[in-house]
Symmetry: C2
């Protein structure tokens, strides 16, 4: 159920959280899971192309649908399914080999791949843990404050760690567990609600929100941006961040408080937590050279990403620079880069999906679907139609075990329909993009960190779902309410 695209691979190397919690994939022969996509593709293959759609478009649709179903059923890991999809486009002559491989040179894909490499530096240097202990020392007098401290850590790391599994599972979770255990709260002996359960749901719901706040905070965000770009809607790093900052910060304030009310920890006052944090910080000693470099590199990235427009430096060029700085200063070794398997995994599945999506638009499928569906929704006016579309998009995540699978299956057609009914393009692309993260609040399998944190055993599945549903409502109210006012102010509609 883990989402490899959100870095369960990368997380596997973070050690503490990874080894005990890693969700293993089934080992049996993948024949059944493979046969469903194959039969599906075989059927779609022979459907006649509607007017305006290239005949090769139907073949590509067949391969695309089979790939998405394969990603959902997981007869093989997502990357392997993607590789089968790429091979299918080339071997059937649906696309030329150069077209089949075109995704691998995509600049947005490399933004994420490079961010995966850079984020390794936060974990390797210990800077991520230091930030977490610092927030704990500052905010940790009460258990609600501890929750806010974990969320703040996640927020600070979010712009440069696109694997939310690495953030919440790799950096935050080990510290969460050590605090909970220091207060005698363990998963299996009836003490889980003392502290651990509350911190777990808070850290999880926190990373769901921080993932929505930056283009580079979750692996599938740039996929959404790229799918939007294929329909002529350009989303920049700074455009995404500015639109998300107000509703995002409100969510980060409100959600832990809601969880504290509905699911309170038995221990509420935690004066010793601050001493614990200071102890850890003392043990870590002064900030190391490698941490200073990591911090400077992070500052450089944020500065150049924010100033990308005026300076004319592409976001991906900045990420290249960031990696080069870490390599030259020796903060990362080339071996660290080569062994960052989560990055290579992302390169493969992302390239397959972006390649297929862009040729589906080019061959006329997405425009045809949008026109057809737009005719159905057109009677309502764009506000009602878009609200309906985006709520369907949101709650259908109960059926998905990965943000990436959901985004690749539904983002492009839903955006297409939203545009046809007259939704302002950037607004439509951004809201669907934000929802592509917020919808993971609901289940214990919907995004990479969910199975990691749920798997720790502090929280019952019924609590997870109940709280998840309440948080989903809260997020919708905040993002559609306060968010709309903010976006109006920004002139997005």
């Amino acid at each position: 159920m883990a989402d490899p695209g959100n870095g369960s691979e990368g997380q596997a190397r973070t050690g503490e959280a990874g080894d005990s919690q890693r969700v293993t994939t089934a080992k049996q022969a993948p024949w059944l899971g493979l046969s469903i996509p194959v039969v599906l593709a075989g059927t779609l293959w022979f459907l006649p192309a509607p007017a305006g759609v290239d005949p090769a478009g139907m073949h590509l649709l067949a391969i695309f649908v089979a790939t998405i179903v394969g990603i959902i059923l997981k007869p093989l890991p997502m990357g392997a399914v993607a590789m089968v999809g790429i091979a299918a486009t080339a071997m059937t002559n649906t696309l030329t080999i150069s077209q089949s491989l075109s995704g691998f040179g995509n600049r947005v894909i490399w933004l994420i791949v490079l961010a995966f490499f850079i984020s390794r530096g936060f974990i390797k240097t210990g800077l991520g843990a230091r930030i977490a202990y610092l927030f704990m020392a500052l905010l940790g007098r009460k258990s609600l404050g501890l929750g806010y401290g974990l969320v703040a850590t996640d927020l600070v790391l979010a712009p440069a760690i696109p694997s939310n599994t690495a953030r919440a599972g790799g950096v935050v979770f080990p510290i969460l567990r050590s605090i909970a255990e220091a207060y005698g709260s363990r998963p299996d002996d009836g003490t889980s609600k003392k502290m651990g359960a509350f911190l777990t749901v808070t850290a999880f719901q926190g990373t769901v929100v921080t993932s929505a706040m930056f283009l580079t905070a979750m692996a599938a965000n740039p996929l959404a941006a790229e799918l939007a770009s294929a329909q002529g809607v350009e989303i920049t790093w700074v455009g995404w961040a500015v639109a998300a900052v107000v509703p995002g910060l409100v969510s980060l304030m409100v959600v832990p408080w809601i969880l504290y009310r509905l699911f309170p920890p038995e221990i509420r006052s935690t004066p010793e937590a601050r001493d614990l944090a200071w102890d850890h910080l003392r043990k870590m000693g002064p900030v190391k050279r490698s941490e200073w470099i990591m911090l400077a590199c992070f500052g450089l990235l944020l500065t150049l990403w924010i100033l990308a427009g005026p300076l004319g430096i592409h976001t991906t060029a900045t990420a290249l620079l960031g990696l080069v700085v870490l390599l030259i200063t020796g903060v990362l070794s080339w071996d660290d880069v080569l062994r960052e398997t989560g990055a290579w995994d992302t390169l493969v599945w992302f390239s397959a999906l972006v390649m297929m999506a862009s040729f589906m638009t080019e061959l006329g499928l997405i425009p045809w679907f949008s026109e057809t569906m737009g005719g159905v929704f057109g009677g309502f006016g764009w506000v009602t139609a878009f609200l309906g579309l985006s709520l369907v998009y949101f709650y259908s995540h109960y059926f998905f075990a990965s943000n990436t699978a959901h985004v690749s299956a539904m983002y492009a057609p839903f955006l297409g329909v939203a545009l046809v009914v007259g939704t302002p393009p950037v607004l439509a692309a951004l809201v669907l993009g934000f929802f592509s993260n917020l919808f993971s609040s609901m289940t214990h399998y919907g995004t990479g960190p969910a199975p990691v944190l749920f798997g720790a055993g502090y929280v019952e599945v019924s609590d997870w779902w109940r709280l998840g549903f309440v948080v989903s409502l809260a997020n919708l109210v905040i993002w559609l309410g306060i968010g709309s006012l903010w976006w109006r102010l920004l002139g997005l509609f």
Copy 2:
């Protein structure tokens, strides 16, 4: 001194040969090795562009030269240097970010990356070792026969294992060492010449020749093909193999015999080697399901590569199919693919070099160089001029520690000059391609397997160089003599 491009990374995972022999890279700060390329680039940057060359071309030349010098001086591993080069093209606005990343979608690069993945199957299933023991059982009655057996193993694996380090270091070397030790020949106690020294040089010179025989037998071969393609000369998989088969097989017959004459093992009759091989084969048991699949996949690859033209299936599409077969049947796991760091390393350095080389042609640099040098060499007639060019190309390998560095620095300009003086294009591209492998016979650092096999300690450096020079002459006589007759027959000139 190891050549990461030829798979020292991949080889590191093969275990037996890797752990003890791995050449470690320097750990000190890379400032000196970095400053030379930087100063060089800074100087070239401000040179005026000659007529017909785009001003951006000089900037690209500066970055390219700095990258090549960086690959030779190795202040950082080759892949990291390549990443710095890519970043430099993008950050200086010499190229757009999409141009800078364009190499990553190149189909010839993916042919090699995919072949790296597929070759893991030979090692993982044990099929490679089984083939080696089989040849040993068939040919191993005398030590010369054992040498031929090792070479035959290397030849059989060559079409699908583009890392000659993985072939000679990962598959052949562990078996070589176990035979030598069975005959009491060890590196350090005066027994090296009993058997081990002869087998080591034979295996090494064998892999040098097999590397020259297939487009997919050495990582830099497709780089040569791609550089030729940029100058309008197309080399196919089957075209390369057909042109190389006759001189290649002659070399594989003659070279071990020469080594046997000049550097004879003290033990010449080895009847027990066959029993040893049969023992190993018995211990391996019947051919496993995974080995059968690997064998079938290998047959499929060779068939489709040979029939690529008539069937209209691109070589890279076939390689995709091969990987998919291994993934679906479970011979390789997706994790095997992600952990094949040699492949990802190759993807990065290869993409950087191909990207720069193709834009150097596009921006007018290679045509300008070829025209200028062609004027100098033009007076001689193409036979003399090309002979001179190719011998300079060949023996300049004394100054290179990697096939890839040599090919990326010298192949394109030398081919350009050869074409200007009137050498038949395909002949010129192929001969320089073959020489890009054969020239590694001479030193103990010139190609990936050299430091691995030399590092085992069986052979003195003076013997290595003396024999290497003799073999280089033998290969030149065979390839230029018998080769020329064969190429004439094929109509290449």
